[in-house]
C-alpha cells in the first residue's frame, strides 16, 4: 500500500473543503437552477426568426446569438474602457469556417468548413449546409437575396460550388471589397438543412412559415422560451464546439416603458438594457454616476436624418431642401436631445466610414438664409401643410421633431407631427407616402459604397427613403461599388458626398453613439459593426 503521508491527507481535506466552500458560495450567489443567468431588459419583440427576413431588433439579437456564421468580425479591447471591445475595419476571424483563401486574384472565395462540428440533431456540419444556407438566402422570399447580387455579383446558385465535404467556393465575376464582410453578416445563419427541409411544403419550399417561429441550426445559444410581451430565454447549447460560455442562461425581459427600464436598472433587477432604442440619451444622462452601474458609449455609424420625399413637392426643389437644412436647429438638438451621446451629422456618410469628409457641408442654423432660399424657390408666403412622421417610442426622434417643427414653421411650413408604429411607418415609407419623416439607418458593412448604394441609388427602391434618383450618383456607384479598395475609390466616395450635400438630399441631423448601460462588473461586451450584442464572451469581472 502506498505511503499515505499526513501532508496528502491535509491536501485532500483542504481540497474537499474548498470545493464545498465554492459550492456554497455559488449557491449563495443565487443562480437560478444552478445556471449563471444574465438578465436583460428590452423594448422589442421577436416577430420572425427567419434568417432571410427583415426583423425586429430583438429578433436580430436572438439570431446573432443562436446561429453561427461563416466568419465574424474580430474585436479588440477599447483603450480606457476595460471590458469593452470593438471591431476594427478589415479584421475577421473564422467562426463556422476554419480558414479561407482567395483564388483568381480574389474573384473566388474558398471557405474551409471547421471539422468536427455537429448540429444539435447530431448530424455533422458539412459544406452542403453552407450551400443550403446561401441558396436559401438567395432564393427564399426575403431581402438577403438582394445582398448577394448587389455586393458580390452572385446571382445564380451555380456560383456557389461545393467542392468537397469541407470546401465551399463562391465564384464571383470579379473581386469585391466587401466579400468577407458579407460572410460575417448574421443573416448567414448556419441552418440544419435536413431539419429545415423536413418542414418545407410544396407551397413553401423554403419553410418560411416554420422558420418564422422556430430556430434550427448551430449556435452558442439555443432558444428555449419565447413568450411575446413577457420574456425570451436563451440557454447555452450543449456540446457546443467552443468552451461553455460564462452565462449559461440569458433572460430577455420585455419592458415597454422606458421609466420601468430605468427603475429596473437602478434596482439591479436587470443587468443590462439593450434595444434600439434601449434607453434615450436623457435617461442615460440621468444614470451617469449611479453607483453600481456603468455606461459604455462609443461612436457608431448609425445615422439619423430628416427624410424629405423627393417625389412630393415642394421637396423635389433643391432650394427648399437646402432651406430646410438651414432651418434645422441642430445647435439646440445636439445638447438637448443627445446630451452628448452623439455627434452632428455633417455628411451623408457616417464619420467612422472611410471616405467621410466633414468639411464639405456648409449648413448651419440660419433662419434668414433659409427664408431667402424659400423665397428663391417661390415659396414661403402661405404656410404649406406638411406631415412629419416619426416612429412611436423613439424619444430622440420625437424631441427632434418638435424642435424642427418650430423652426420650419418660421420659414413657411405648417407642420403636424404624426406618430406611427414601426410596421405602419415602414409600410407607408416603402410606398412613398411620407412627406417628411425622421429616418435612421445603420450600415452593417462599414463601406462607403454599401452605405451610398442602399440610401441613394435609384435602384435601391425599398431602402432609398428619399426616393432620390441622380444618374451621376448611379454612375459613381456602378463604377466603384465592386472596385478594389484604393485611393481612387475613396476619392469617388468624396465626390459622391459633395454631390449629395449640395443637393441637400437629407436634412442632416446626427450620428448616434452606441450606448449601453449595465452593471459595473459586466465585462466582455463586444461592439461589432452590426451593433447586435453577442453574449458568448460576456462575464462578470
Amino acid at each position: 500500500m502506498p505511503d499515505i503521508k499526513r501532508r496528502d491527507v491535509f491536501k485532500l481535506a483542504g481540497g474537499i473543503a474548498s470545493l464545498a466552500l465554492g459550492q456554497g458560495l455559488a449557491s449563495r450567489r443565487g443562480m437560478a437552477q444552478g445556471a449563471r443567468t444574465l438578465t436583460i431588459a428590452w423594448d422589442t419583440d421577436i416577430d420572425t426568426l427567419d434568417p432571410a427576413a427583415f426583423k425586429s431588433i430583438g429578433a436580430y439579437v436572438v439570431q446573432a446569438n443562436v446561429y453561427d456564421n461563416p466568419l465574424m468580425w474580430k474585436v479588440r479591447p477599447v483603450e480606457g474602457k476595460p471590458g469593452l471591445y470593438r471591431s476594427q475595419p478589415g479584421e475577421f476571424e473564422g467562426n463556422a469556417v476554419e480558414s479561407w483563401s482567395f483564388e483568381k486574384d480574389g474573384a473566388t472565395l474558398v471557405l474551409k468548413v471547421r471539422p468536427g462540428l455537429k448540429f444539435p440533431s447530431g448530424r455533422p456540419v458539412a459544406a452542403r449546409a453552407f450551400k443550403y444556407m446561401f441558396d436559401r438566402g438567395m432564393q427564399s422570399p426575403g431581402y438577403i437575396r438582394l445582398l448577394f447580387p448587389t455586393l458580390l455579383a452572385v446571382t445564380k446558385p451555380e456560383q456557389i460550388e461545393v467542392r468537397d465535404e469541407r470546401t465551399v467556393a463562391i465564384n464571383m465575376p470579379a473581386p469585391s471589397p466587401m466579400t468577407l464582410d458579407v460572410m460575417a453578416l448574421s443573416n448567414n445563419a448556419l441552418l440544419d438543412p435536413d431539419e429545415v427541409k423536413a418542414h418545407a411544403t410544396e407551397q413553401d419550399p423554403w419553410a418560411t412559415e416554420w422558420l418564422k417561429r422556430n430556430a434550427a441550426g448551430l449556435g452558442p445559444y439555443t432558444l428555449v422560451k419565447n413568450e411575446p410581451g413577457i420574456e425570451v430565454v436563451l440557454e447555452a447549447t450543449k456540446n457546443y464546439w467552443r468552451p461553455a460560455p460564462y452565462f449559461q442562461r440569458l433572460v430577455f425581459k420585455f419592458v415597454p416603458n422606458e421609466s420601468d427600464r430605468i427603475l429596473l436598472l437602478k434596482r439591479r433587477a436587470v443587468d443590462l438594457v439593450t434595444g434600439r432604442p434601449g434607453l434615450s440619451p436623457k435617461s442615460v444622462k440621468s444614470l451617469e454616476g449611479e453607483p453600481g452601474l456603468k455606461i459604455f458609449s462609443v461612436q457608431d455609424t448609425t445615422c439619423h436624418w430628416l427624410c424629405m420625399n423627393g417625389k412630393k413637392p415642394p421637396f423635389d426643389n433643391v432650394k427648399v431642401r437646402q432651406a430646410i437644412n438651414y432651418a434645422i436647429p441642430i445647435q439646440a438638438i445636439i445638447p438637448n436631445v443627445l446630451y452628448g451621446y452623439g455627434a452632428q451629422m455633417k455628411s451623408p456618410l457616417p464619420n467612422l466610414t472611410p471616405g467621410h469628409d466633414e468639411t464639405l457641408s456648409p449648413y448651419k442654423h440660419d433662419i434668414a438664409k433659409a427664408k431667402s432660399l424659400m423665397s428663391e424657390a417661390g415659396l414661403g408666403g402661405t404656410p404649406i401643410p406638411v406631415e412629419l412622421a416619426i416612429r412611436v417610442g423613439w424619444l430622440p426622434h420625437e424631441q427632434a421633431a418638435t424642435w424642427i417643427q418650430r423652426e420650419l414653421e418660421q420659414i413657411g411650413f405648417q407642420i403636424s407631427i404624426v406618430k406611427e408604429t414601426d410596421a405602419a411607418f415602414r409600410q407607408i415609407a416603402s410606398k412613398g407616402g411620407h412627406q417628411l419623416s425622421i429616418e435612421s439607418w445603420q450600415s452593417w458593412i462599414n463601406d462607403p459604397f454599401y452605405h451610398l448604394y442602399f440610401n441613394f441609388s435609384s435602384k435601391a427602391i425599398s431602402t432609398n427613403t428619399a426616393f432620390y434618383a441622380n444618374p451621376e450618383i448611379d454612375k459613381i456607384l456602378a463604377e466603384n461599388m465592386l472596385a478594389p479598395q484604393s485611393d481612387k475609390r475613396l476619392a469617388a466616395a468624396r465626390q459622391a458626398q459633395k454631390i449629395l450635400i449640395d443637393d441637400a438630399v437629407w436634412g442632416f441631423l446626427w450620428y448616434d453613439n452606441w450606448t449601453r448601460v449595465m452593471r459595473t462588473d459586466l465585462v466582455g461586451v463586444e461592439k461589432r459593426w452590426d451593433t447586435f450584442e453577442r453574449y458568448y464572451d460576456m462575464k462578470l469581472a
Binding site: S259, N336, V392, L395, R406, E409, S416, I417
Partner: protein, 295 residues
Amino acid sequence: MAVPATMAPVARRRSPARALWRRLRRNPVTLGALCVIVALLGAAALAPLIAPFDPDATDAAAALQSISWQHWLGTDIYGRDQLSRILFAARVDLFVPFAATAIALTVGSLTGAIAGYRGGILDQLVMRTVDAVLAFPALVLAMGLSAALGHSIGNLVAVLTIAQIPVYIRLIRGEMLRVREMEYAEAARSVGNPSWRIALVHLLPNCLPPLIVQATLAMGFAVLTMAALSFLGLGIRPPDSEWGEMTAEGASQMVTGEWWLFLFPGLAIMVTVLTFNLIGDGLRDFLDPRMRGVQ
C-alpha cells in the same frame, strides 16, 4: 322649489332671475362651480390674450425648469411654458366635448322622441341598436372608433358623439313613453296634429329636464374620455396641446423627477370635470322636485 302651475299667474310677476339667484345663494357649491366654469370658458376663449408665452415657443435654455416666478407651472423638455400650454389646451378640451355633447343631444333626443312616440317596429329597431351599442363601455367604443376613424379634431368629435348618442335616445324614449299618454298629448292628437309634430313640439319640451342634467354630467364624462384617449395616444396629435396628452408626456418624465409636468394638466382635467358634475348635480336638484327628497 318649482312653482305649482295653479299659481302661475301670480308667480310671473316675481322675476324668475331673482328667484334663481336666491336659489343659488342657498347652494354655495353650485354657485362656486358656475363661477369656475365661467372662468374656465373665459380663460379658454381669451387664451391668446392672457397666456404669458407662446405655447409652442421652444427655449433650450429654460428646459425642464420647475415652477418659478417666470414660469408659474414650469417648463417641459423643449422649454415651453406649461401654463400657456394648459390655457391653449383648454380650447381643445372644452370645445370637442361640448360639440360632441351638443350634437349627440340633438340627434339623440330627436331619434328617441320619434321612436318613443311611434312605437312599433321603428321603436324596436332603434332600441335593439341602442342595446348593442351600449353593450360596449363608452371608453372602449371610443378607443375602437378613434383607431378606425383617425386623429383629427373632427373625427374625435364624431367618436365622442357616437359614444354618447345611445344614452340620450334611451333617456328621451323613456320619458316619451311616460308622457305620450298624458292629457295634453291626447288633446293634441284630437286636434289632428301629425305625430311628428306632437312628438317634437308638444311632448319633447316636457322631457327636457332630465336631458339637461344628463347633458351636463355627460360633458364631464366626455372630457374624461377625450383625455383618456389622448393619454393612450389615440387622440389629439401634436402640435395641438391637450391635457391628456400633456399628462402622458409628463408621466414619462416622472422617473427623472420632473413632477410638475404630469400634475398640472391632470389637475386641469379634474377641476373641469368636477365643476361640470357639481353644476349637473345642482341642476338636477333644481329641476326635478321628485328626486329631491331622497338626496
